[in-house]
Amino acid sequence: MIYVLLAFWVISAILAINEKKILGMIVYLGVFSMISAVCFLLLGAPDVAMAEAAVSTFSTVFLIICFEKYFSLVTTVNYEPPQENPIIAKLKKRGVAVAFTLVICALFIFFIPNSPANTFVKDKYIASFMNDVGGENSVTAIYLGYRMYDTLFEALMLLVSVVAVTHMSMFNESLPDNASQLRGVSKSDKIAIYTVRIVCSGILLFGIYLIFNGHISPGGGFQGGVAVASFFVCKYLIHNIDDMQYKTLMIVEKLIFAAIILLATSFILMGIHIHFPQMKQLYLILMNSLIGMKVACGFMVIFYRYIAFERR
């Protein structure tokens, strides 16, 4: 089963690389992400599958917005690279690249050590995560308990990338008055609007379910946060909200990041989970909901900047 899927996975990657048009490439990237999410599920990682499925929608949305706003309207310059001899030029262009790639790939395959990661840590984690951190999901127990610093620095990375997106897109803060080019689903498209209206409340409910059940079932803060953010994207598609308060969202995100650091360090470093074992569940739920809110705010800010900056 998984080998058939892996074959399709490789084929979709080749198609995405070989495609000439940009929109086709984006669509093949979406297909590739979907197949890889099913692969993760078959590899025994439902948390990662959910994260990939939620996140690939967002990367596709960003790519399509970028394409719609900056590539379709632009008159592309016809650039002819200087070619003295077509065969030699083709050999230079493709042959060198193919040979280089094949050589490095062969080096990687033949000199890979046998089973680089062994499973000594796995048995220890699986045996004792219920006592140490609590909950029934060992993945959540690892990224909220044993490896808490990973989660903290990941949240910091997301915050930094949000700041980078807002500051690099601040070319012209005084927006012109004419209406934006990209206006969600157009008003005439009734079927899309009604479908999104029916589906979007379900998406919000699913995101909240993922956040609050992340410690006993597949799911967690990251996946639920991205699902909640996609609910707000659906709201944008229906209502065409033009004045989303992204500055408030950024302040809220920074405050939530401070709260995450305070909660995690106080719980783990001060040893509350040793003295008060009944607080473990509360800690997991609180951390998951804080991380979910932070991720949702970050993705909302990025989406708003992509939609709104320099309307033309």
Binding site: L6, A16, I22, F58, F100
Partner: protein
């Protein structure tokens, strides 16, 4: 020696996207290649200790389960990956507005015009 088939497939896809990266003429194809590369690294991590009929490491009694440590590492990497895509696209939009081009060759000519003259 040869690893298992899933590891080999992940390495193959990594180098397919590497080929796309070094032969890409447009910036947006490079960004998409980097996205494919990240997913292949995720599959490489998740394939550690794969057996047939493996189960997720969730529940009261965990038997024959996958390794939870790479999964916890990889979840954060996926979220960082989409943030990276967003930052890359923002830089691409800035380049587009400044130099009015999205191909590497034209951008090279316009950002460093003296570079090609000397050669």
């Amino acid at each position: 020696m040869l690893g298992n088939i899933i590891e080999l497939t992940a390495i193959t896809v990594f180098f397919i996207s590497f080929y796309g990266l070094i032969t890409s003429r447009g910036v947006i194809k490079s960004i998409i290649s980097i996205g494919i590369m990240e997913v292949s690294i995720v599959v490489f991590f998740l394939s550690f200790g794969y057996e047939k009929g493996i189960k997720p490491p969730i529940g009261q009694e965990i038997v024959n389960a996958a390794d939870p440590l790479p999964q916890a590492l990889v979840i954060t990497a996926i979220i960082i990956g989409v943030a990276l895509t967003a930052v890359n696209l923002t830089m691409l939009i800035s380049l587009k507005r400044e130099f009015n081009a999205t191909e590497w060759d034209i951008l090279k000519d316009r950002t460093h015009p003296e570079f090609n003259k000397n050669i």
